[in-house]
Amino acid sequence: MSDLENFRQEIRSWLEANCPAEMRQPVTDEGDVCWGGRNFVFKNEAQKQWLERCVAKGYTVPDWPQAYGGAGMSPAQAKVWREECARIGARPPLSSFGIWMLGPALLKFGTEEQKVHYLGEIARGEIRWCQGYSEPGSGSDLVSLQTFGEDKGDHWVVNGQKIWTSYADKADWIFCLVRTDKANKYQGISFLLFDMTTPGVTTKPILLISGNSPFCETFFDDVKVPKHQIVGELNRGWDVAKYLLGHEREMISGAGGGDRLNAIGAVVARNGLEDPMLRAELAMFDVDALAYGCMGEKFLDEAKIGKAHPAQPNMMKYAGTELNKRRHELLMSAGGATALEWDSERTNGGSPARSWLRTKANSIEGGTSEVMLNVVAKRILDLPGA
């Protein structure tokens, strides 16, 4: 047996012994997701147990180095881990912006001290992070951001406003883009980390069309940020920000797995499928979804050996989110009048409709589809003037 096969057996029996049965059920609502953090309330004992057991082995972030709370898995081993989890339907033990976004950026740009400290906290699910990028006047044109950090010797004093800050009201810390040089557009931004309980930080939830309020306006009023809480060099935060966006886009694209890659025709048909035109659209959708699933696998395989084009996450994000929107349009059509119910018990509180509406943000958050296409045209296709 090859080393990898041995490893697979090892993972398989560990999962068998340690993944609680409840944690092998599909995630049906937000409460099923373990976000971690100081104020996180576990939904049940199984969720807590599953997290603790994975933390002890470094399995919340399997491919991070052991020194930073990971399990130090090679790319091939991490793929085995994902496959084995998928095989039994194991939920991710921990989901967080720390894992998906800040972690990779710290691994590349952080100091040794920052890595040990912040990555460890993320891996153990102790600190929940939010992302302070967008501002009212700076969405797609992010680099025009105005939030300003004034140099006060050993610290900055930050003033300004962020918007669309997901989970700002639940997060413990924020990674935040702050202008530290007004004369320099791209090379005048710094990447700062600070505690959301710092005096001067306030948040105000925004109600979405889905009826939920997962994100906020975030205000900074003379917020003191110590100088050592910067990632990368002063005024070079844009490099960190862009690198992080690559990982964010990859995450939103669904390339790493999850239901975004699944076909839906067979699931819909279980409740009857009488309309031949709808069936035909479902079949075409399944072709696209299954093909995109292959793309996700190929993208990860190539990314791990440095073979993927650096701008490829933009393509993945574009394709994956447009596909997911189409998925939910079809699910709404298949559901008929039942899918329109907003708060009934049998729809789990209007889950089909709310999920459908939520997916409309997929092609906006983390960079819009139009911006993704701009980046592909410029960086991959090398089209003129793009």
Binding site: G265, V268, D286, L290, E302, V376, A377, G385
Partner: protein
Amino acid sequence: MPLYHTEDQAMLADTVTGFMADEGGIKQQLRYYRDMGCQDGFGHALWKQFAEMGLTGMLASEADGGLAMGHVEAGIVLREIGRNLTPSPFLTTSVMGVTALSGGSDDLRGRWLPGVIAGDSVLAVAIDESPKHRPERIAARAEKAGNGFRLSGNKSFVVQGASADAIIVAARTSGSDTDADGITLFAVPKDANGITHENLRLVDSAMASNIRFDNVELDGDCVIGQVDGGRELLNKVLAAGRIGSAAELTGVGHGAFDITTAYLKTRKQFGRLIGEFQALQHRAAHLYSELEIASAAVIKAQQLLDGGAEKAELMVSVAKAKAARTCNLAVREGVQMHGGVGMTDEYDIGLYMKRDRSLTEFMGDQYYHAERVAQLSGY
């Protein structure tokens, strides 16, 4: 298995890419043979070169003198054939024909494979009997007669059928037209009595034959595999043709895409390169994305097929449907973005549009395969 080429496969790809661009280019091959009105629709000299490169016998076993490679490797060749629109009997002969013969006896393989591997002979595959791909329905009949069979019926869209030294025919030896069982594959020599060809030029300048078999006498040793039990082998041949045409389609799509983006970087209107217009940039970027996804589906299906995985059948249909839809988008966008010159014979983009149509139809189009995806998924 990771979804990219191994080192050996990447080396093969390098060699084949250079070879096809140098020897199989549009001017030397497609236009040359088209303009001379060639009745084969391809050049035998290039086929001989394929043999010298070892490509003709890629899928044949080592014992048969081949390279015992798989669909990933064959797909590498087909992709370059697609990119250069190279007219070649490779898909019908070396991919589908060899797959069929590999299920035959030592004698049968000994009779046909050496010629194929040497680049001296060509095979064709006769399955469909109507303008649309419907291999579930086979009406051509081979009745037992003495030691052999007597074959009668019609086969349509047999690519390179009139040029082939042997035609692999799927015929019914028992049961009714739509039965799954009762199929037998035959290797029918071109000079057998009672074969009539209606040799037709297709839109892409390939030649295809509508063949009429009229009481064609066949020896028992023309049978490939088992009498009445040929459906399984037929399915292998179909899978080979489907994934092969899907791979070729991604080559056609990429070829069309490359010349189109090159055109966007040279043509000026309104005082600017047309590639500066966002309306075109977004469509080009969307197309890029679709081409990447189609290529991923194709390599996945190839790997599954080579590994004998159960899911291969589903993924082959996913790959063919996705490749067909994507390549079609590529050639339509290609002609449109070329403006008026896209409509001229002088520019190559129109040739890509024609090839796309033929290949999409070959072994089932996107509608046929999306339907199969639905059925195989259980709805």
